[in-house]
């Protein structure tokens, strides 16, 4: 066990960091916010931690927390700025935001190391610290998937107008999603930099967007569990399938495309749907009859509607006539 742990330490750390990265994309999706800003925060957090460690010589934990503060601040402002946007516009605006982080890093001069990036980011970060951060994050997110908060998040995503009509402040929920994605992304970015001791503009390009998207889409968008499934698969898959090697991106892209077409809920979605289908079938069997009424009956009712709804008006008109005569 200990031997296995030690020989796979890098992968274990990678899994947890990838979990946080996937969550930074998944949280806004679950809130109905189509935002990639969390991936931008990954870059911001990575650089913030590197600069804090190199310039201030802070400890790893302080660097991570500092990076999270920066990530939260930036995403909060971004969330306020793009509050009016929705759908594709928001998606593209936040993709542009994410891609611009690398441009800023290239132009950052000595502080960000320009095109080359920063090296020798040395700080002691034990695995249990990474795990502790992830556990706290997952615990908080698990709460937002249950009870009243869970129901409201569901409403904000599926039907914002309905959510507002039952007293949910949709804008606030969306802003919370932005802030949370900033914190998660920045934490993942900071840990990634510290574990690898380096960060450069090429580490925060489009590849990281695809990786996060792959983990989230394949795992499932509805729950932290989906992000965990995705993180485990895509951290361990490359090391198991050596042959994938150079074609890694191609495989990921193909999987994302296939999942988007055939399994938009991800693996977790397939499992939940299967479980619910089973429940339904069992219920139907135990009742003997289907709860659902014959659909043709409802259609027939709808079809007779126009005539039926006008009839009293004609009647009223006639009685009116009689009354007058």
């Amino acid at each position: 066990m200990i031997e296995w742990y030690e020989s796979n330490l890098v992968l274990i750390q990678g899994t947890i960091i990838n979990l946080l990265l996937a969550l930074s994309l998944q949280v806004p999706f679950r809130f109905g916010v189509f935002s990639f800003a969390g991936i931008g925060a990954f870059g911001i957090g990575g650089y913030a931690a590197a600069i804090l460690i190199l310039e201030q010589e802070v400890s790893a934990v302080v660097a991570i927390i500092g990076a999270m503060v920066v990530g939260v601040a930036v995403c909060w402002v971004l969330g306020l700025v793009v509050a009016r946007l929705g759908g594709l516009y928001l998606g593209m605006a936040t993709i542009a935001f994410t891609l611009i982080i690398a441009v800023v890093a290239i132009n950052g001069g000595e502080r960000t190391g320009g095109v080359i990036g920063l090296f020798g980011v040395l700080a002691d970060l034990p695995t249990w610290t990474i795990l502790a951060f992830a556990l706290v994050a997952v615990a908080i997110l698990a709460i937002t998937e249950r009870g009243a908060i869970g129901r409201r998040v569901e409403a904000v995503r599926e039907d914002p107008e309905l959510a507002a009509s039952i007293g949910v402040n949709v804008r606030r929920y969306r802003l919370v999603a932005f802030v949370a994605s900033g914190a998660l992304g920045a934490a993942a970015g900071a840990m990634n930099t510290i574990v690898r001791t380096t960060i450069g503009p090429t580490d925060i390009g489009f590849g990281i967007v695809v990786l996060a998207l792959t983990m989230m889409i394949i795992g499932g968008t509805r729950s932290w569990l989906g992000a965990l499934i995705g993180a485990i698969i895509f951290t361990w898959l490359p090391s198991i399938l050596e042959s994938v090697g150079t074609w890694q991106h191609l495989v990921y892209g193909a999987l994302v495309a296939l999942a988007a077409i055939f399994m938009p809920g991800g693996l977790l979605g397939v499992m939940t749907d299967g479980w619910r289908g089973l429940q339904r079938r069992r219920r139907r069997a135990s009742r003997g009859t289907s709860v659902v009424e014959d659909p043709t009956e409802a259609e027939a009712a709808a079809a007779e509607e126009p005539a039926a709804e006008l009839a009293p008006l004609l009647d009223a008109a006639n009685t009116g006539e009689r009354g007058q005569s």
């Binding site: 009870g147 409403a155 599926e158 039952i166 007293g167 009293p312 009116g320």
Partner: protein, 268 residues
């Protein structure tokens, strides 16, 4: 004073509508409407498609902004408050098309309405409810709403397993669970058969018996005659008639608006 004063009791109106206009560019969806909604009664707005009924409801829930005019809820000006706060002021609504969340059970969908009261009762109640083990939630407001709408036995099902009539019931139950002062119903019987409409009409009258003020938007005339105490008729964004339901549907201009010129006049 508007003529609604005829049905008003001494109690102040729940909702005062004064010269309300909602224009979208050149389209005058609502163009100068005034009336009072007095407590404990069912009011109806009758009108053909596109007459501005739904826009008026959207204005009452602050989903669209007024171009002109004033709205007062329980005597308080309510134009500045946010959409989300409308529900907290005691205004609940149902939608023209059923809007249930497919990922939540029937009971959870109704609970969404009851969650509203969590804001008032305790600051951390929302959080507490998320920390409770699943399925252990019992909520008086939800039980009441379930019982009222006759959804007992359906609570653990998914919305897609219900007939469209029952789905409408869940929609109403969710609104009732917010424990509103005023319930706005946007065509609650669309697509229903006769017996289902009858059920809904009885439900609304029962709720009135409990003191719930309601505003019903419909184009099923029989439903309006059966249910409402006072009827407004709308066309082209304006009120064209109001009064006791049986009187309103007799008026020429209502019949013309509804049945077209030929039919309306032939019968006149």
């Amino acid at each position: 004073m508007t003529s609604s004063a005829i049905v008003s009791t001494d109690a102040p109106p729940v909702l005062e509508v004064r010269d309300v206009k909602v224009h979208f560019g050149g389209v005058k969806a609502v163009d100068g409407i005034s009336f009072d909604i007095t407590p404990g009664r069912i009011f109806g707005i009758l009108g053909p498609n596109g007459s501005g009924k739904s826009t008026l409801l959207a204005a009452f829930t602050r989903y669209v902004n007024l171009t002109d005019g004033t709205l007062r809820l329980a005597g308080q000006d309510y134009q500045r408050i946010r959409t989300a706060d409308v529900a907290r002021r005691g205004v609940a609504r149902t939608f023209q098309t059923v809007r249930l969340l497919p990922g939540l059970t029937v009971r959870e969908n109704i609970q969404l309405g009851a969650d509203l009261s969590l804001n008032e009762s305790a600051r951390f109640a929302t959080l507490r409810s998320s920390l409770r083990p699943r399925g252990a939630v019992s909520d008086a407001a939800v039980d009441h709403a379930v019982e009222r709408t006759g959804l007992n036995g359906y609570e653990q099902l998914w919305p897609c397993e219900l007939s469209s009539g029952l789905q409408r019931g869940v929609e109403i139950a969710r609104a009732i669970a917010t424990q509103p002062q005023l319930l706005l119903l946007d065509e609650p019987t669309a697509g229903m058969n006769h017996s289902e409409r009858h059920e809904v009409s009885r439900l609304l009258r029962d709720l009135k018996g409990e003191g719930l003020t309601q505003l019903l938007v419909e184009h099923d005339v029989q439903m309006m005659l059966d249910t409402c105490d006072w009827l407004f008729a709308m066309n082209f964004g304006k009120l064209i008639a109001e009064g006791k339901p049986e009187d309103v549907v007799r008026q020429d201009q209502v019949r013309v608006a509804y049945l077209g010129k030929r039919w309306g006049q032939k019968n006149a």
